[in-house]
């Protein structure tokens, strides 16, 4: 199926009334969770995942993706009105968005954020549609050694998800691998790490870990403090939410910059929308005629990062849909969702599930239009969500988490595990262990072990098979290079320090 006929087919799927409804539900929920500080799209998707088991996978992925990109639209609202990012990708929007709001231009800032999100989000979907099919075709030639190398490359991306400490990120990833190997070994039927519990023979369900670490852990972290931030007034009326022509003119380059930078960074597994928004903001400032004004409330300072974090969504879906490699915690959960519905994300995904792939792509065009309509005139209404007392919100999140986990297997043992993983998630936050690598290890661990063992069976135990095939050798080489990156950075820092000390 070529791109044009694929897209036409996708629109026939996406505009079916039931899919339009789920797309709207996803975009609406995404906007709501984006607005709420402390509740991110990864946690929301994880919580709602069990409820999608009875849904058609195409409708379900349309809804979950709607939450993913909808949250990017909503995330700017709290950055602008409260100086508190609704999600990590909106941190940079605080710099100029909040300053614009303090100058009485909150409406314009919210409008620019919505317009930039729409333009860049649409560019991201176009690029996703054009790049994914050829990439999947290349990956069709993969066998077990290439899959192992691909998984190793995916795990090496942990370097980019590391945050402050690479060692902690690697440790979190190894714990993910350990959890992934719990249960019955498929090759030999040996029980591993089951601690005598028959409930663990099938392994630990991904949903329990994701909901525990993300939703419960996040809420426990937020419950450390009782106070809430003070919100700036939201302007009412469409006219007050539209930016002036001058402001739009000033944002021309920022729209383009955000779209391109966001997509390219999104395609790189591990980089993520927060990095995309920072880089886009940095480029915007670097090429600006008045860089000194950045941080004082310039519209470009809102348009560039907001565009980048929306375009990143399209980019991040490329490796997930075509190679089965998630680049962030949210795409890891989406990947797990596809596996739980019985699908096989990877090179055959587009060929075997054209309804799902093209339906998703077309729904993202539709969803972006819905979000623009939802976000410009209805922002004052959405902002009222911020008035919902947290003491009512937090027990509701706990309740949805318990119901979500219980609905997977009907087992109270799983709900106990939810509590344990919730505590783990909180402690990881407290001790600065990033949670995305744990999820990456958990999602990729099982497939990686299987691919490695199949490869070694093919070669009768000869490890050379992993490097004797060109694609696999290149990917393993890349994985090693990525893992060595921090050493290069450290060596460069020592070199610079030595040069400074000498002269």
């Amino acid at each position: 199926m070529d791109v044009l006929s694929g897209l036409i087919h996708g629109f026939s799927v996406a505009v079916a009334p039931v899919n339009l409804m789920w797309c709207f539900v996803g975009c609406f929920l995404g906007t709501v969770v984006g607005i709420m500080p402390g509740l991110g799209p990864a946690a929301t998707i994880a919580m709602l995942l069990p409820l999608t088991f009875k849904m058609d996978p195409t409708s379900a992925i349309i809804m979950l993706a709607g939450i993913y990109y909808g949250a990017k639209y909503g995330g700017s609202t709290t950055s602008i009105l409260l100086n508190v990012p609704g999600e990590s990708a909106s941190v940079v929007t605080c710099l100029d968005g909040y300053q614009m709001a303090r100058k009485g231009r909150a409406g314009a800032a919210l409008g620019i954020a919505a317009i930039a999100s729409f333009i860049a989000g649409t560019v991201g979907v176009i690029a996703l549609m054009l790049i994914s099919p050829p990439l999947a075709k290349v990956a069709l030639s993969f066998s077990s050694p290439e899959y192992f190398a691909l998984m190793a490359l995916g795990l090496a991306m942990v370097v980019l998800l590391a945050g402050k400490s690479l060692v902690k990120a690697l440790l979190a990833m190894l714990v993910g691998l350990w959890i992934a190997s719990m249960g019955t070994d498929l090759f030999t039927a040996t029980s591993r790490f089951t601690f005598g519990h028959s409930e663990l023979l099938d392994g630990v369900d991904f949903v329990i870990v994701a909901i525990g670490v993300f939703a419960v852990g996040e809420v426990l972290g937020n419950m450390e403090q009782r106070e809430a931030s003070q919100m700036l007034p939201v302007p009412k009326g469409l006219r007050n939410l539209l930016p002036t022509m001058e402001e739009l003119k000033a944002c021309r380059f920022a729209f383009l910059n955000g779209s391109i930078v966001g997509f390219l960074i999104g395609v790189l597994p591990g980089a993520g929308s927060t990095i995309a928004s920072f880089i886009s903001y940095g480029i915007e400032k670097a090429v600006s005629k008045h860089p000194e004004k950045f941080g004082t409330g310039v519209p470009e300072g809102v348009a560039a990062p907001e565009g980048a974090n929306n375009s990143e969504t399209g980019g991040a879906l490329v490796p997930m849909l075509t190679l089965g490699i998630p680049g962030s915690s949210t795409t890891a959960i989406l990947l797990a969702a596809l596996i739980l519905w019985g699908l096989k994300p990877g090179p055959l995904m587009i060929q075997d599930n054209p309804n799902l792939f093209w339906g998703l792509v077309a729904s993202m065009y539709v969803g972006n239009v819905m979000l623009l309509v939802l976000n410009i005139p209805l922002i004052p209404l959405f902002a009222q969500i911020l008035r919902l007392p947290v003491e009512l919100l937090y027990p509701i999140i706990f309740g949805i988490s318990m119901v979500g986990v219980y609905s997977v297997s009907g087992s109270l043992f799983d709900v106990w595990m939810l509590s344990a993983f919730g505590l783990l998630g909180y402690l990881m936050r407290k001790l600065d262990y990033p949670s995305a690598p744990l999820i990456l290890g958990l999602v990729l661990g099982d497939s990686m072990e299987r691919a490695l063992r199949q490869s070694l069976m093919m070669s009768q135990g000869e490890l050379g098979i992993l490097v004797s095939r060109p694609i696999s050798a290149v990917m393993l080489g890349l994985a090693v290079l990525i893992l060595l990156l921090p050493l290069f950075r450290k060596a460069n820092a020592w070199r610079v320090r030595a040069l400074e000390e000498n002269g």
Binding site: L51, T188, E391, Y406
Partner: protein, 153 residues
């Protein structure tokens, strides 16, 4: 900072212990079978990596701790989070006795009135309304089962 360094030493120790456990368990399974790697192959390697990295983390933290200024942990904040976690765990423990609806109502009441110090009447109303809403949405509207207790709901 001293508190972070202490946390790294403790968490490094726990993870090193986990690594030792993984290696000991893995050594009891086949490393190589006639048809290829056995069930102990993969865990043995990541277990060893766990030990090596956590020891690295601990050594780095101990070195930093010697030079770092005093920086206290906000135990009050940690206590609040652990208090909330305990409430959630108790609510989970009550699921097979009281069922989801009553356990969840109690959990909501506890968070609203005890942790956030809102009036008792408000907490009771919040608990009752949210538990009823869960019952209406999940078992009745979505046909999703909730854990039931001795009272049958």
């Amino acid at each position: 900072m001293k508190s972070v360094a202490n946390g790294d030493v403790v968490s490094g120790g726990v993870l090193a212990g986990l690594g030792v456990f993984v290696v000991v368990q893995a050594s009891g399974w086949d490393y190589l079978a006639p048809e290829g790697p056995g069930p102990g192959f993969f865990p043995l390697w990541y277990g060893l990596a766990l030990i090596a990295l956590s020891l690295g983390l601990m050594i780095g933290a101990l070195r930093r701790r010697a030079a770092a200024p005093e920086h206290g942990v906000h135990w009050g904040e940690v206590g609040r989070a652990l208090f909330a976690w305990t409430a959630l765990t108790v609510a989970i423990g009550l699921l097979n006795v009281l069922g989801f609806v009553l356990s969840f109502a109690l959990l909501t009441f506890f968070i609203v009135s005890i942790m956030y110090r809102r009036p008792l009447g408000f907490g009771l109303a919040a608990g009752a309304v949210s538990a009823a809403a869960f019952y209406l949405i999940f078992p009745l509207a979505l046909n999703v089962a909730l854990p039931t207790g001795l009272f049958g709901f």
